[in-house]
Symmetry: C2
Subunit: 236 residues, 2 copies
């Protein structure tokens, strides 16, 4: 079973979520069932990078991780697109584990795969209204019910008050799962000046919102470290 791959890069830091700051390698798969308006990796699904997609076996991918990252990593993050669409990820997870390394993976929770139970840090990020997607909460329930609670976290990207209310609803639906509010990045155009300063302003407003809300106590509020550092640059 082959895996459609668009990027293999690192080591770098994980910029977001439950293992923010972790030294890791990235594997980015092609293909997504969503079309989020503010997606920062549209090339994974909009056809613009379709000639760059490589169909690779788990062994191919692991060899490339070693070629790129040498012995300078022991953690791999699989992102997309939505890697949960791809059945073959299971053999990649097994291979990474055989080498004694950990695996993180990010998905929106729209599809379950058996290999998800083996992911060391699985981030499920339901998409808020500003994405213009409709998250199917029945499917999300079914996905979450099948996962070991200690290995998963929820992350909701938040651009505005409507998104914030969605985030709150998700947190209240799954109160025992580690919950991250992540500030959205509206500046996908790298020509925007003072990008970091603007992102930090948005982040501060999100913090202010959460701090005054007594229904949002058991939460983490985080930026994307990589966008603060590197804006929208690919491969870091």
């Amino acid at each position: 079973m082959k895996i459609p791959v668009l990027e293999v890069f690192g080591p770098t830091i994980q910029g977001e979520g439950a293992v923010i700051g972790r030294k890791t390698m990235f594997v980015r798969t092609a293909g997504c069932d969503f079309r989020c308006s503010w997606c920062d990796s549209k090339f994974t699904w909009d056809g613009t990078a379709k000639d760059d997609i490589r169909m690779m076996t788990a062994e191919d991918i692991f060899s490339e991780l070693q070629a790129v990252g040498g012995n300078r990593f022991n953690h791999v993050t699989i992102s997309g697109g939505n890697p949960a669409l791809i059945k073959g990820i299971g053999s990649l997870v097994s291979l990474i584990h055989e080498h004694g390394f950990e695996v993180a993976l990010e998905t929106q929770g729209s599809k379950f795969q058996n290999w998800m139970t083996d992911i060391d840090q699985l981030t499920i990020s339901p998409k808020p209204p500003s994405s213009q997607m409709i998250q199917d909460l029945t499917i999300l329930d079914e996905v979450i019910q099948q996962l070991p609670q200690e290995n998963i976290s929820l992350k909701v990207v938040t651009f505005d008050e409507t998104d914030y209310q969605f985030a709150k609803m998700i947190h209240q639906r799954y109160p025992d799962i580690k919950f991250y509010l992540q500030v959205g990045n509206p500046y996908l155009d790298d020509t925007v000046s003072h990008h970091t300063e603007k992102l930090l302003n948005h982040y501060e407003r999100l913090i202010d919102r959460v701090m005054t809300d007594d229904t949002m106590n058991q939460v983490f509020v985080t930026p994307q470290l990589h966008t603060l550092l590197w804006s929208n640059k690919k491969g870091v």
Copy 2:
């Protein structure tokens, strides 16, 4: 047993370490056995705030947490100075737990107290050479041996290559404990311009150093979110 307190504030986010981003209240105690050259809270030990120290019972402190934070928190971070100097912290930890809240605490690992085993997230941050302190590693060993490994993390603030080598030595001494490299903040003077940009430059250099080092794979590299947002402002 009373506790010398200098600040009670929040809720805000935890800006660093293993629970970076967590909504929390802060209690800052007075007094430290160290005198770090770059300490960002020198007022806790240099005498300049000695008239502001309040001797408070655990009940006094918890009442003040509720007065300041209302019902907008379920997590408390105790920092200093070095709160590990204070025997009375134990009753504060118990009281916070009785309310169903979690407690994080930060100390340099120069002294053990029995109540340390009850802390939900205990950060031990040995001080590197740039601090001009000498960390007693025998005492550090004794402290760490008495703590439940799953609740503790090590954090080393790093300003330069000598500090980095110290960090590496600490990580290798306790390879199974979650390890954070945190970029140092040399700009304690708020008149410094482009503070955030300069801090991010230092952070990026630290990331570069770690990414090329195959002996530092199992690590997190993090900034201080609060200094990116608010420079050295107190009470946030």
